[in-house]
Amino acid sequence: MTDVGRHPRITLYTLSEVVDVKGYVGNFDVRILKKARYVNEKECTACGECAKVCPVVRPDEFNLGLSSRRAIFSPFPQAVPSAYVINIQECLGHNPVVCAKCVEACDKGCIDFHMSDQEIVERVGSIVVATGLEVYDPREMDEYGYTRFENVLTSLEFERLINAGGPTGGEVLRPTDRKRPQSIGFVQCVGSRSLRKGGAYCSNICCMNTIKSTLMLKEHYPDMDIKVFYIDIRAFGKGFEELYTRSRRLGVHYIRGLPGTAAEGPDRGLVVSVENTAAGKLETYHLDMLVLAVGIKPAAGAQRLQEMLGLQLTSDGFFLEAHPKLQPVDAATRGVFYAGCAEGPKDIKESVTQASAAAARAIRLMHNGEIATEPITSTVVAEACKSCGKCAEVCPYNAISVDVKRKIPAVVNTAACAGCGTCAAECPFDAIVMNHFTDGQILNQVHALLEEDAKEKVLAFACNWCSYAGADFAGVSRLQYPPNVRLIRTMCSGRVDEKFIWEGFRLGAPVILVSGCHIGDCHYIDANRWTEKRVAKIHKKMTRLGIRPERLQLEWISAAEGVRFAQVMQRMEALREAVTPEEIAGTMEVLTKASKKEDAP
């Protein structure tokens, strides 16, 4: 921590929040709101004379209210920066008549009530999101009586209690009588692994944190009776199982089952009943103190930051990485990286590992001193653009800006564009050109393919990353399928324009396949959702025009699903055989007529 404070290349803004981010990879302009500290950060030596005279006593947040502090205070002894800070809401006022005792006490004259909030703009090339976590608030799950019984603590409160620098100097005492408890129970998975309250996910750290606490207790108080109520003990990391074994060997009692409720006993201890599923018995325990192993929640500001940076969140509220296995620290927005619990619950070692990885990824991006842009991007034909805003709506990267109200044509930010082509497929006015996968280029392929013996052929669109790779995998595996299919590769299935399909049918294609990555696996965040919607729309129109919708198929085929690709090809061939020449002729006639009337579907 102190290394950060004195590092010549680190500018540290505390009491600060990012309020706006503009720009794109390589050049982000970040607006930071730095709240007033009312104490000169550079001059303050943290002597503490000011706090001695401050008459305002408040609960200390760092100790979770288990001790008190003054309105002018140091957050904790090792704080960086080490300067004191005034909570101006609590301060009696900067009117010397009212108080201002601290001003008199400070020899160096560090205290300045006229300090005001500052807005700072910084330009950066990359961003690491390390917004951390919040612990689960157990008040919503009051079965264990956290709001009603004083001797029920959260694991973080317990952590402060056993901390040598904590409010009791490391002595574990019961809040009600300040006596050392003879027995302590730990309840696991509070706010985790529950579909009812808290999160459905495992919070990753609570099992090991409880095991650590039991070891510390046994070290301090070998005779203490310690019970742990659990669903499973997840001790999967390096050295974890050994700690668990040690804890058991020291006599910590592990009981498989979570208590239903907790009640307060006559001595203000807790009575818990639990179904011990290992023993198959209902058991009741009297404990002096109960500790709730609370889970990890995403930080409160995650959603605002997500909107500012165009990031994605999982359904749990943690940030979603660009790829869960191959890009675990990259955000889908280029130039943004994740570190620590912002991305998901993790322990210190994993947080540090991910932080180093994020730093390395940021360096990899920046070390050339310039950013190479992807040449396969979309461009707007400004004269044709009607500023409807559809492209900006479908772009998974927020790479398109368009002013719908003032009718200013769309502009593609090529540094942010990843080249999926969804915008070009969705533009109702053909005002977007997807370089290297233009309408003309793809339609030329469709024409060449259907020029001769169209009725014998299966036209298939495949996305580069999954379906086309799946077809390659079928080849590498020598899986045999009928030779009638002809693949057209696009970067994303989101590129497959409605008009490609209509043109295919108009030229006599018996069947057409659109294939892409599975939903959730799209290499362009969620562009394939638009594929899905578009195909559904075309199906409806087909029905209206009297064309059997089965002739257009949509399949999700991953790069590993060679077998599935071959099966789909067999199925497409069977579908093709079922289409009669009369049916094809009918479709061609309907669509040719429609295109002549220029109200083409």
Binding site: M1, V4, G5, H7, R9, I10, T11, T14, L15, G26, N27, V30, F62, F76, Q78, A79, V80, V124, S126, V128, A130, G132, V135, E159, A164, G170, K212, L215, G237, K238, F240, E242, A339, G340, C341, S351, A355, S356, A358, A359, A362, I363, M366, E370, I371, T373, T379, V412, N435, H436, G440, N444, L449, Y468, D472, G475, Q480, Y481, P483, R486
Partner: protein, 209 residues
Amino acid sequence: MPARAPVKETETAGEGPRIGVYVCHCGLNIAQTVDCRKVAEAARRLNDVAVSKDIAYACSEPGQQQMKNDIREYGLDRVVVASCSPRLHEPTFRQMLQSAGLNPYLLEMANLREQCSWVHMKDPEGATQKAFDLVKMAVSRIRLLQPLQEETLPLTPRTLVIGGGVAGIQAALDLADNGYEVVLVEKQPSIGGVMAQLDKTFPTMDCSI
């Protein structure tokens, strides 16, 4: 904000494009199922194709050299390579084009191996017909391909780290120690995050700060 001017899509004016087509045998990988010579001969009759050949190994040094020589000799301005999957050798052939003085994006590949010869081994005739179709599709597409340029944009070699907990601290120090400027933003009055509240940490049971 960088925005590229749209590329105008016109068939090359005047004389029309000069396309070279190379049908690769890949040893026997393609040639044992697909009649490569027949495909190359048929491709020669397609519009704008200036030269069409079958070739033993397109990706090999002699194969690439032959294509480079042809680009010079026949004045080719774009090349169709009918061989394996573009996911494998597209970068190879793009480099070849570049070293021959052509824009690397004026390349089109027809996948005759993974998506043809290997999956239709029992139907050489059907495979050959499909191979020709794939080449024909590639030729029709390449006529409209446009040269593309990779652009470079200036960059600010600084990083914003949002959050001063253990992850933010580690990322900031790694970056700063590597010579990059870091702006670290923390909403609390001190950095340290939740980690600073912990005493001992698992699995080594050492102090957190």
